[in-house]
Symmetry: C2
Subunit: 286 residues, 2 copies
């Protein structure tokens, strides 16, 4: 079995940290590629005023050493972002729309309908590049409770009709449980990625449950970095090390070298200036 | 489905903390019973010189308000401990033998064979009381690697022949993974309890995997307290709150009131003087 791990640390991890240098961001991305990650969400084309740590995505992309066989993903909030992403040489684009209208307004300052309507133009700009629609707050929201789980299937259906070919379900504030993961996958199918946060200690168990349901794509962030600047207590991402640790032990192939990842985690700790939340980063693998 | 949760915080949690008062220990035990825990490992009859935080088990048991329907478990290291436990009014006894000879020597200062030989006499003293043999380091040991997983089935077989009717597999230093949990259960059967530590962030995923294999008994400690004084980096126990949180969401019955548990966690934080590692204790349930 092969699991595709998309590393989102350079984007979803670093966005809540104090800004680090372009060189460090490029070093992190290059290190991830060298460790065997084939999909890396490297940068974001959001407003640097809103998210200072994500400023200068074009300079980051110019500073990296492009690794053959790696897809470099860029998060784009709108059509203008998509144009910048294409100009910066991104291989693939992520779009975020929230299944929770309140969160969508806080995160992207748009109504869900406006975000959905913008997708068609983004797809035009993307051309043949893969575009992944990340639906946030799918398993619940601090603002609207369980409602987003009800609206998610319809959003997927709408986006599919617009031509979106790839979807990721995000548990933005750690409200998923194995039960809810299974239930959602029974509704929307398993040809989706999962983007899990560890707010309530459930990221790994939710990932494992999803794998047993048939999901084969996961977002994860080195060190368990992350959170959301627009949702309190969002908690870090599923830690890449912690995921690879149990996948390796299950003989599930990812192509990622855990040793290289752990060494890179040491550098990341220096870059961000604090301990990483990943358990395996702290104590080492079994 | 019903899952039996044995709360081990007053024993395996507090044993690595600075000693707290008899009153606080009794308050914790009474609070756990009030929250619906029907099995509580309340005290340990080990040497107070070796584990100062576990001193005066008889005084703790005299201070609690016995809750009808609760089994109060006491850990006994030897026959003398079993006699003291019976005198203190324990309902049920736990014995610990390590599947790792090095850990057994450090933990109980005996060879595994000596520990096993002592079981017969402990069973005599226990009479009709349930006796649970907790095998530690079953999923690996920092001293002997994966060897304990090989010897565990034979130890269970020996103990069963001696009359032990109940077994718990302990992941003392957090070396279990879902794969190893499933593999071990395929070998020894699912009529065992699991005692999991969260050293590598795997306690919850291992518990969930065990449930899907058919296991119905778990040890857990309020707040994720714990570790081992005799194995470096042992990490805290599976947090009772974190377990109940996902079991409640799965409509799996435990009889435990999560709200009461979280309120008690607030008191426990005061007692031990530091934050609890449980994610749900820190951010609240979904």
């Amino acid at each position: 079995m092969h699991i595709e791990v998309r590393e989102v640390g350079p984007r979803d991890g670093l966005q809540v940290e104090a800004p680090i240098s372009i060189e460090d961001r490029a070093t992190l991305i290059d290190g991830l590629a060298a460790a065997g990650l084939t999909d890396i969400e490297a940068v974001s084309f959001v407003s640097p005023a809103a998210v200072p740590a994500m400023a200068d995505p074009d300079r980051v992309m110019a500073a990296i050493h492009r690794h053959p066989g790696v897809r470099y993903w860029g998060l784009v909030p709108n059509v203008r972002g998509a144009e910048l992403a294409v100009a910066a040489g991104m291989d693939a684009l992520t779009i975020t729309v929230s299944a929770c209208p309140v969160y969508n307004q806080k995160n992207i300052r748009r109504r869900v309908e406006e975000s959905m309507a913008a997708i068609a133009d983004i797809l035009d700009v993307a051309g043949l590049r893969p575009v992944d629609l990340i639906l946030s707050c799918v398993f619940g929201s601090p603002y609207t409770g369980d409602e987003p789980s009800q609206t998610t299937p319809e959003l997927i259906s709408q986006a599919r009709q617009m031509g979106v070919g790839r979807f990721t379900l995000a548990d933005t504030t750690g409200m998923a449980t194995p039960t809810r993961v299974r239930s959602m996958l029974e509704t929307v199918g398993t040809d989706v990625g999962l983007h899990l946060h560890d707010t309530r200690g459930t990221a790994l168990v939710n990932a494992w449950e999803a794998i047993s349901c048939g999901v084969r794509r996961f977002d994860a962030a080195l060190g368990g970095l992350g959170g959301s600047p627009f949702a309190e207590g969002a908690g870090g991402n599923l830690a890449t090390e912690d995921l690879i640790h149990i996948l390796d032990d299950a003989d599930i192939h990812t192509g990622v070298d855990l040793g290289a990842l752990l060494a890179l985690g040491g550098s990341l700790r220096e870059m961000v200036g604090h301990e990483l939340s990943s358990a395996v980063a702290q104590v080492g693998p079994r």
